[in-house]
């Protein structure tokens, strides 16, 4: 995760916590009101919650790993470049390896 993504995520969590605490304070305040009121959660708390959630999602996406290609051909190209082809065994055929020949080749290369 990059520095920016961590900062944004932490900031969004602080905001979310703040919004939550404000909502709690507000409910507390309502309890002490003697007049019957149909007051709902204030708009600024709702806005703060929405902004915090959006920021959190944004921060997480920023810190995501390099995305893998969706298309098989592009994915295969990347693997082929790194020498990680999943089909290479069909041409190397480890089950049929000629161990005597490999040993001889290694021994002669060593000399």
């Amino acid at each position: 995760m990059s520095f920016v993504s961590t900062t944004v995520t932490v900031l969004s969590l602080l905001l979310l916590f703040h919004a939550g605490y404000s909502a709690y304070e507000f409910s507390h305040y309502l309890k002490h009101l003697t007049v019957n009121s149909d007051a709902t959660v204030p708009l600024d708390i709702i806005a703060e919650t929405i902004v915090a959630t959006a920021l959190f999602a944004f921060g997480q996406v920023l810190g995501a790993k390099q995305l893998e290609p969706v298309s098989f051909a592009k994915w295969a190209k990347g693997l082929e470049r790194e020498g990680k082809s999943p089909f290479a065994f069909l041409e190397r055929r480890p089950g049929y390896m000629n161990v005597t020949k490999l040993r001889d080749e290694y021994a002669s290369a060593k000399k």
Binding site: E80, A88, L90, P94, G95, N98, V99, L102, R103, E105
Partner: protein
């Protein structure tokens, strides 16, 4: 540490150690040897991966001629999985073949159950070293009859046929591989290459031009194109397209329509030139792309 694990896992899954150049093999051996003997492997890997690394280290030591090391790893694996484990059986037969000769190994694999694919393969390999190609092919045919879903055996059969110059049979075996592993772009390219060689052998046999040769070349292009469809910018595939379309263009009085192949030649040239220009491939592939561009 992750990188070491990645290198070893990659070597194990792609069996790259079978085709590495001596220096690269040596460096892989050193990495693996250090990782296993320092105890880092046992500390950092879950059991399933740990024994894969041990198996790899066994192959590396036996190829490097370090028989005592190989024997120690084999003993560890045998203690853990017992003699009757399929993979331990394969390792033991390879060990015997390398250290005590094919006869001992043959004796060992003959005592294994008939359903054990790995040791059956070893048996065929040992027989190969003492017999001729025709015998080898007939043994492989018996094996694919009993295990028709083993792509590796079909691929081995294809290579044995190609070595014997029986290209039509080789192509059949490669098509069987494709039925089992349809996305294997390297096998698609190999079919293209085999068709191309087949066309050359037909041409050498009959000096005059024939429809059969042309059909082989058309088929080669088809499979090379399939390989680049499956793997973008696959140098082997584009090089195949380039070489084959050049051959098609050289045909005098072609029976089929060849105008598409002329266009394909240009496309392949452009793609290869672009790959070389942007350095968009591994070093060895770039070198082959340059060579093909120069000669065709």
């Amino acid at each position: 540490m992750t990188t070491t694990i990645d290198i070893l896992r990659n070597a194990q899954t792609t069996s790259s150690y079978l085709t590495l150049a001596p220096e690269e093999f040596q460096s892989l051996y050193d990495i693996s040897y250090k990782f296993v003997t320092s105890g880092a492997a046992a500390r950092s890997l879950p059991p399933a991966n740990l024994y894969n690394v041990f198996e790899l280290q066994f192959f590396l030591s036996i190829i490097a001629g370090k028989d005592t090391e190989a024997s120690a790893i084999l003993a560890t694996l045998t203690d853990r999985f017992r003699q009757d484990s399929h993979r331990v059986g394969v390792l033991r037969s390879i060990y015997l073949e390398a250290t005590e000769g094919p006869l001992k190994a043959l004796e060992f694999v003959s005592g294994r159950p008939d359903t054990e694919l790995g040791t059956l393969k070893r048996k065929i390999v040992i027989l190969k070293s003492s017999n001729q190609t025709s015998h080898y092919i007939s043994e492989l045919l018996k094996l694919v009859d009993n295990f028709p879903s083993d792509a590796e055996s079909w691929a081995e059969l294809a290579s044995a046929y190609a070595e014997a110059g029986m290209y039509a049979q080789s192509l059949f075996a490669l098509h069987e591989v494709l039925l089992l592993v349809p996305l294997a772009y390297n096998i698609n390219a190999l079919i293209g290459e085999t068709s191309l060689v087949y066309a050359s052998s037909l041409q050498a046999a009959s000096s005059s031009h024939s429809v059969a040769i042309e059909e082989r070349l058309f088929e080669a292009v088809k499979f090379f194109l399939r390989s680049v469809e499956l793997c973008e910018d696959y140098v082997r595939g584009w090089a195949g397209v380039l070489v084959t379309t050049k051959r098609i263009a050289a045909i005098q009085k072609p029976v089929g329509d060849t105008s598409t192949y002329k266009r394909l030649y240009d496309v392949a040239r452009n793609r290869l030139a672009k790959i070389v220009e942007t350095q968009d491939a591994s070093e060895s592939e770039l070198a082959s792309a340059r060579l093909v561009l120069k000669n065709y």
